[in-house]
Amino acid sequence: MKNLKPILVVTVALSFILASCHKDKKVTPVTVVATSGLYVLNQGLFQDNNSTLSFYNYTNQQTTADVFSAVNGRGLGDTGNDIEIYGSKTYIVVNVSSTIEVIDTKTAKSIAQIKLFNGSTAREPRDIVFYKNNAYVTAYDGTVAVIDTTTLTVGQSITVGNSPEQLTVANGKLYVANSGGLNYPNYSNTVSVINLSTNTVTKTLTVGLNPQNVVADAYGNVYVLSAGDYNTVGSSLAIIDDNADVVKSQANFDGSNMAIQGDNIFFTTSANKVEIYNAKSQSITNPGFITDGTVITTPYTVTSDGTTGEVFVTDAKDYISNGTLYAFDKTGKKEYSITVGINPGKIALIKN
């Protein structure tokens, strides 16, 4: 028996060493989300179910890494693609989880989880816009789903093309980019135009291969940025006249991650620069927005604050580690930067 004792002692001792090796998982309790700040929606990694919502508080300059799970006790799910604020609510579109999380903008508390399923097959929502108390959501099943923002229920589905990406509202119509991404290698090259009073597709326009971003300016133009096939076909920009619904210009264009604020259309280039296309002058007015030498490895999304003129750019770095959000003043000088989650793909600015 005495020979066994040391073994037992070793076993038990080792077990305790192991137990003490468990690290604490830090959970920061969050009670109040201030009224001025911004949300960064981090996609996380495909199939890792790790989308997070970073919150940056302008007042105390504190960042909460995942305010959604801290407040709601569960994660956002897989691949948060879009976040938009409408009224007092914030809508977070989670693609593979096939849901739209509706939260109270001020508290980040979940109000509703709108699941988008066709039977038990995920419809995979992608991008959201609002018009007259309705939300319009592109879904990878080739539709735009109409959601009543009062009842938060899913109504009609409008059939568009394959793998629709972004959409925008202009002149009482909806412009939807049909990328065809899931039909790889057979990308699409169309934009569906939907009449918002009848919710029907009135026209399908041909643009560059693999359209992704759609924005509208104040001069009756809808800009469609196509990614090409990432190989031999390059990216291109089509400009649609939202009155006649015709493509009035179409040209090769080195850009992605397009966003508009007033007359400034921000986009990033293949050289990882942030540039501005002016909607009024219809030219690139500001090549190289960043003036202080700040280097961004992988610019992932750009957003501008219309009031302050600040520009926010995220850096996805190597796509598998935490990213950074940079804030620049209107002259392109860095104000501050914060660490955000993996693949920070969308920013929502909280306004009072």
């Binding site: 020979n3 037992l8 199939q47 799910g77 995920a122 039909n183």
Partner: protein, 676 residues
């Protein structure tokens, strides 16, 4: 402290109690024997010392012990080994791959009767597909096997798992033996198997192993994806597979023998996907049709020159279907066909009785085709690979020392139908080993090895969904330094023996191949990124009592400490390598009484991170999981029977090994086998 700690403590407490019970029981019996039967001689079986580890660290499990570890497949059988980290996606059909001493599964070669189960497509063998039917013994060698007469491929990986199947050894009196059994239980599992051994004459014999496995695979798991502690049932987990393995043996004598294996495996299974918020349902299916033909011939001349020839032809067909993928074709439906021809010749000669040299040369041609229902997959490379290995090895003994070393030359050349192939490669890989045995009469040995090896990028890494046909990946290099000591000793009338082994190791990986997944498959990238440093310690203790009045206690303990970090400057500097726990402990303890045995197995793993940054968001809890198994051998109707029953995850621990892939709770499997 996080909430896992109380659970771990509870299990450790239970473990300790069980251990104490297991050992107290035979002690009590023994004590009784001592006092009341002093004059009667206690019947004691002879010592049964385990095989001592030699020049490289090795750990072994034989068929008799599979039940002791509640093992259903090769992954279960080796999960207690030190240095082993099984990446288990959960359930009957869940993928199970092995990482050894911090290296990815691609650095471990699996030998089936001496010949590698090679997969150039993804390089990670799914151990859940390797049923234990017909397997006689599994040995894990760090670095390489210690016998230098072997195919060059045995020396071409960082670690080797060597699977040996049962060879028929029947006499003319009873020229056949049939083993029939069935395993059944939780997951709707039913797994009948049959083994037929036949002696044809004094030279020829054969053995056929076959089984069917059917399971719905369902199990309940707790998750917080929809809020705290929801219980869901794992779906799309059904498994249907069949395997036949036939082996024909011809043995003229010990120095002239031949065998031929034919193996066919067919499987159809659901692929349970990652549990995603609000969308935990998967519709993906996987079909495998694997076939191989393998033969081996061995001849020894009178002068001691020893020849070993091995040949293998294989074809692996994999079909993957995901009907929920939202393309216009109504889903993905891809098929892959991988074929290989492999030939190895090895020669071994003793120049002096203490100096042995060997030479082995292996050639292999492999190719991979990828098809969708409409034809070849768009822009797929259709790669073919030619590999030539040349290996010179030597083994030299002098006094208390033994030295072994080899030099391996690898030449790889690839061709593609589309795009550009990986540039051809020639790599020289040395291994040096030494063993020192200071005392003639003591089983105490010191050993050290250095091994420098690499792995080729797999076809998937190199060519899967590339935009211009190929990624320019470099091979991933793995260097190992090991220093160890082994000791074993017969003790006394009560403790049969104690065997003890400790190894400290230092490993490095350069040009680590890292996958950066993207939802848009075309944008996924795979690159050579980073350096890894692994510092570790493996400890193994094995002991058993002598059989006393039919009673025997057995125990094995394995512990691994691993500090595996990225050492490239950048966001991952000194961050723990994903899915590499710092501490793992496996304890197996049992008590046997005549033909019965009751065993308790526990595997404890500390926390891990599922991505490269060791930050709270990437944290995966540690776990402690326990199994209990019972084995009973008996005779009925004049035939020997074996019955076993296991309760796996005895305490119904809710845990994951791979993030978002929940493991089953408590489950039960019984088996009954008859030998005719």
């Amino acid at each position: 402290m996080h909430k896992v700690l109380p659970y771990v403590k509870r299990y450790i407490y239970r473990l300790s109690v069980l251990l104490v019970c297991f050992f107290a029981l035979p002690c009590l019996v023994f004590a009784q024997t001592d006092t009341t039967k002093k004059l009667k001689e206690v019947k004691v079986n002879g010592s049964n010392l385990p095989k001592i580890q030699t020049i490289t660290p090795s750990q072994q499990i034989t068929a008799n012990d599979f039940d002791r570890y509640s093992a259903l497949n090769v992954a279960d059988a080796i999960r207690d080994f030190s240095g082993v980290n099984i990446k288990d996606y959960g359930g009957i059909g869940g993928l199970k791959t092995v990482s050894i001493r911090g290296f990815s599964a691609n650095h471990t070669a699996i030998l089936y009767d001496g010949v590698e189960i090679n997969d150039d497509e993804n390089g990670q063998i799914d151990l859940s597909k390797l049923n234990l039917s017909g397997i006689q013994q599994i040995t894990l060698y760090n670095a390489q096997p210690d016998d230098i007469l072997a195919p060059a491929r045995s020396f071409a990986s960082a670690s080797i798992i060597s699977i040996k199947t049962l060879k028929p050894s029947l006499t003319a009196d009873k020229p056949y033996q049939i083993l029939a059994g069935v395993k059944a239980g939780s997951f709707g599992l039913i797994n009948p198997y049959l083994q037929w051994q036949q002696r044809i004459n004094d030279k020829w014999s054969f053995i056929v192993n076959s089984y069917l496995e059917n399971a719905n695979g369902h199990y309940k798991y707790k998750t917080n994806i929809n809020g705290p502690d929801t219980t869901l049932t794992r779906n799309n987990t059904a498994v249907r597979d069949q395997q036949v393995d036939g082996a024909l043996y011809w043995t003229k004598n010990d120095s002239n023998k031949f065998n031929l294996h034919i193996n066919y495996y067919n499987s159809d299974r659901g692929l349970p996907a990652a549990i995603l918020n609000t969308n935990p349902t998967s519709y993906q299916r996987l079909w495998n049709k694997d076939f191989f033909l393998q033969s081996s011939y061995e001849y020894t001349w009178n002068n001691g020159l020893h020849l070993l020839l091995n040949t293998k032809l294989s074809q692996y067909i994999t079909r993957y279907r995901d009907p929920s993928y939202l393309n216009d074709q109504g889903g993905l439906d891809d098929s892959y066909t991988q074929r290989e021809f492999y030939q190895s010749a090895a020669l071994d000669y003793h120049i002096f009785s203490n100096w042995e040299v060997s030479y082995a040369t292996d050639v292999s041609f492999s190719n991979l085709g990828a098809y969708s229902p409409d034809g070849p997959i768009y822009k797929y490379a259709f790669p073919s690979r030619f590999t030539l290995l040349n290996m010179l090895a030597s083994n030299f003994t002098i006094g208390k020392w033994r030295f072994q070393g080899d030099l391996l030359n690898t030449y790889v050349n690839e061709q593609v139908k589309f795009g550009k192939p990986t540039p051809q490669e020639t790599v020289l890989s040395p291994t040096l080993m030494a063993l020192f045995k200071p005392f003639k009469t003591q089983d105490l040995q010191f050993r050290a090895f250095y091994k420098d090896i690499f792995r080729e990028p797999t076809f998937d890494e190199q060519y899967y969904f590339t935009l211009d046909g190929s990624r320019d990946l470099k091979p991933e290099f793995a260097k190992q330094y090991d220093l160890g000591v082994t000791y074993r000793k017969s003790i006394d009338k009560f403790i049969d023996y104690v065997a003890f082994t400790v190894d400290g190791y230092y490993n490095t990986i350069t040009n680590k191949i890292v996958v950066e997944p993207n939802q848009n498959i075309a944008l996924s990238t795979i690159i050579n990124l980073g350096k890894v440093r692994i510092e570790g310690t493996d400890i193994g203790i094995k002991t058993q009592t002598r059989k006393t009045n039919g009673w025997r206690g057995v125990m094995a303990l394995n512990y691994t400490y691993q500090y595996a970090v990225d050492v490239d400057l950048g966001p991952y500097y000194l961050q723990q390598i994903p899915y590499t726990p710092k501490n793992t402990l496996a304890v197996n303890a049992g008590i046997e009484y005549n033909q019965m045995g009751l065993y308790f197995n526990q595997v404890v793993s500390s926390s891990r991170y599922f991505l490269g940054q060791s930050i709270p968001e990437n944290y995966v809890d540690g776990y402690a999981v326990s199994d209990l198994s019972y084995v009973y051998k008996f005779s009925a109707y004049g035939y020997p029977f074996a019955f076993s029953a296991h309760a796996d995850n005895l305490f119904n621990e809710n845990y994951v090994i791979v993030r978002s892939f929940p493991m089953p709770g408590r489950s039960f499997i019984c088996s009954l086998q008859i030998k005719i």
